[in-house]
């Protein structure tokens, strides 16, 4: 705990100003990532995981999205206070980078892979001249295990398979050796064997460089296999954080427990991730009390009246629940 965190997000609030109202996509999120650490950000679709990562990158939808409160400290600098041009010039791609979920749409179809992977080197002036950029691209493509990279430079994205494309995207993201990599569901559109390979790849990159990673996923199984700690997000807030072992053995929040129960067990075919009854609340008009209350088996009057405060159950294991503890939710 004495280590200075690489990333520290404090009380982040991000609103989307839509025609139908103000959508509080991220509503007071705090988290931290240490150097060389992987934090899993887990939660149902729509819980605000992508908006959290886009807030960190400062890449929210231009027309509607705005960070309305909170700070994002990266290496001691508050990214929320930087002017846009500085953010682009010195931070994005250079110190913080992103791989998003769809490898099929993350690459520009009308430019070669070599051009696109070379772009960050040119933006950050880490390689000067066509020759040097080319060499740098070959090097980074071989780091992500693209076979015979010097031959594939002039190919277009459509000539790569899905898994290979995601490697190309990863190469682009890590080209300039960022300190933090945000991977937003990087494997959800890939089949299982390729998922495993991607995860191995991230591990390797981390071992070499001390890269901090935020891995966003709705798959607790994937999170468990690669993450050091897991943060569970629900309706714009973090409801429980802890290291992987604690989260598996002693999850205290009913929502985390429900997620764990929906992981298929050995010999059990059906996935039950979406088997938690009920719907998440509206983020335009969220309830005052616990947001999970309508779906919670342990709900009491108190849960409806006030949002539960964060309680630290053990060092590093924090949850926001009035009635934390082991519980049979299944």
């Amino acid at each position: 705990m004495s280590r200075q965190a690489l990333l520290r997000v404090e009380n982040l609030r991000t609103h989307l100003f839509l025609k139908r109202g103000v959508l509080k996509a991220v509503d007071g999120v705090s988290l931290h990532v240490d150097e060389g650490e992987t934090l899993g950000l887990v939660g149902e679709s729509g819980s605000g995981k992508s908006m959290t990562s886009l807030s960190i990158m400062r890449l929210l939808p231009k027309q509607s999205g705005r960070i309305v409160d909170g700070n994002v400290w990266l290496d001691g600098t508050d990214l929320t206070s930087l002017p846009e041009d500085e953010m682009a010039r010195d931070w994005r791609g250079r110190r913080v980078s992103m791989v998003s979920q769809d490898p099929m749409t993350s690459l520009n179809p009308v430019f070669t892979v070599g051009d696109q992977v070379g772009a960050p080197f040119r933006y950050h002036k880490l390689a000067q001249g066509a020759r040097a950029v080319r060499d740098a691209v070959v090097k980074v493509l071989s780091r992500v295990r693209i076979p015979s990279p010097e031959k594939r430079l002039d190919n277009y994205p459509h000539q790569f398979s899905g898994g290979m494309r995601q490697r190309v995207v990863s190469a682009m993201a890590i080209a300039c050796a960022p300190r933090l990599l945000i991977a937003d569901e990087p494997t959800s559109n890939l089949d299982v064997t390729i998922q495993v390979q991607m995860i191995e790849l991230f591990r390797e990159l981390q071992r070499d460089s001390g890269l901090g990673i935020i891995l966003i996923t709705h798959d607790l199984g994937v999170a468990a296999s690669i993450c050091d700690r897991i943060a569970v997000m629900y309706a714009g807030r973090i409801v429980e954080v802890g290291d992987v072992r604690t989260m598996y053995r002693a999850a205290a929040h009913p929502y985390t427990q429900a997620l764990l129960n929906s992981i298929p067990h050995l010999g059990q075919r059906k996935r039950r991730l979406y088997a938690i009854a009920g719907q998440p609340p509206s983020l335009i008009d969220p309830p005052v009390g616990c947001r999970f209350a309508p779906r919670c088996p342990r709900r009491t009057a108190k849960c409806d009246a006030d949002y539960p405060p964060q309680v630290e159950l053990a060092p590093g294991h924090v949850t926001a629940c009035w009635h934390p503890g082991p519980g049979a939710v299944a």
């Binding site: 682009a88 791609g93 993350s106 009308v110 772009a119 960050p120 933006y123 459509h158 995207v169 682009m172």
Partner: protein, 320 residues
């Protein structure tokens, strides 16, 4: 995404089949155009009336009629015309007594040049307008661009032409009012002709640009530190240009069509003016060749544009 990368052979076949079909369609349209123009031009009246003095004796009129084949039923005249045309013989101009094909071919470069200049003018305006109005949507530049483009669409091209002459040739006296010979000569006819499609082209570029700027790959570019300038003018522009390029053939055709009028306004020595004059003197062979050549140009320009997609969109490059 497309099967091109994975199944090059099959894709090649698909493309070849597509082109054969397009060529066939093109041939049918050309034949159709020749039939239509053949019959319609004959509705305009009897050429003899204009060819011979009014006091010509009836015997002479009958003789000329016989020589020119004008006594046959119209469908038979068409078949004779088509048969000769296939052999490259389009007959002689009634008026100039020279081969009609040569007369028109002489004028073709001027028309193509004008149409290309007009097209270039429209693209040169539409691309920056479209891009800027997408990037700064809802801003002053968006509104002004739209207004300027709409103005071109609201005014007929001959009217724009006359207006330009009035301002730049007569009042300001900075541009020649008509004729050819220099770059300055082509300026006003090209603007008169090319202003019209600016509005539609701007809309195409703008909406494509809006889509592209919202895409994952542009976000990925931002995520690795691209400046807005590089992102918009290098990366997004090529994607956003695809829908414009796909219909460039249509616009080129429209420019050829518009040239008929604008050439007359500016005394531009092209096919359009020649055909218009030929219509007035009922010089059928010239009208027929003129229209036929124009429709062949329509069809080929569309085909060429189809072929050119491959250059900007590698997903449909034909060799793989």
């Amino acid at each position: 995404m497309r099967p091109s990368g994975t199944f090059p052979r099959e894709w090649g076949k698909v493309v070849t089949g597509y082109f054969l079909r397009r060529v066939l369609q093109g041939l049918i349209s050309i034949v159709g155009a020749s039939i239509v123009i053949f019959f319609i031009s004959r509705l305009s009246g009897d050429p003899i009336v204009l060819l011979l003095p009014t006091e010509a004796p009836p015997a002479l009129i009958e003789q000329v009629r016989q020589e020119m084949g004008l006594n046959e039923p119209v469908w038979k005249q068409y078949l004779i015309f088509a048969g000769k045309a296939l052999g490259g013989d389009f007959g002689k101009s009634y008026r100039w007594q020279a081969p009609a094909l040569e007369l028109v071919l002489d004028r073709l470069p001027a028309t193509i040049g004008l149409a290309l200049a007009a097209l270039a003018f429209s693209i040169l305006l539409a691309v920056p307008f479209g891009v800027l109005s997408a990037v700064y949507r809802g801003s002053l530049i968006d509104t002004l661009g739209k207004g300027f483009a709409m103005l071109g669409q609201a005014m007929p091209n001959f009217w724009v032409g006359l207006l330009l002459v009035l301002i730049f040739a007569i009042h300001l006296d900075v541009l020649p009012a008509y004729g050819t010979g220099s770059a300055a000569h082509v300026l006003m006819p090209a603007i008169a002709l090319g202003w019209y499609p600016v509005a539609a082209q701007t809309r195409i570029v703008r909406s494509a640009m809006l889509d592209v700027l919202d895409s994952d790959y542009i976000r990925m570019g931002r995520a690795v530190g691209a400046s807005e300038r590089v992102l918009v003018w290098k990366y997004a522009l090529r994607n956003a240009a695809i829908p414009l390029v796909t219909i460039l053939g249509v616009y080129f055709a429209a420019m050829l069509g518009g040239a008929f009028v604008v050439e007359t306004v500016f005394a531009w020595p092209g096919v359009g003016r020649t055909v218009v004059e030929a219509v007035f003197s009922r010089d059928f062979p010239v009208v027929q060749v003129g229209v036929l050549l124009t429709s062949i140009l329509f069809v080929t320009s569309n085909l060429l544009v189809d072929l050119s997609y491959g250059f900007i969109d590698p997903r449909i490059r034909y060799d793989r």
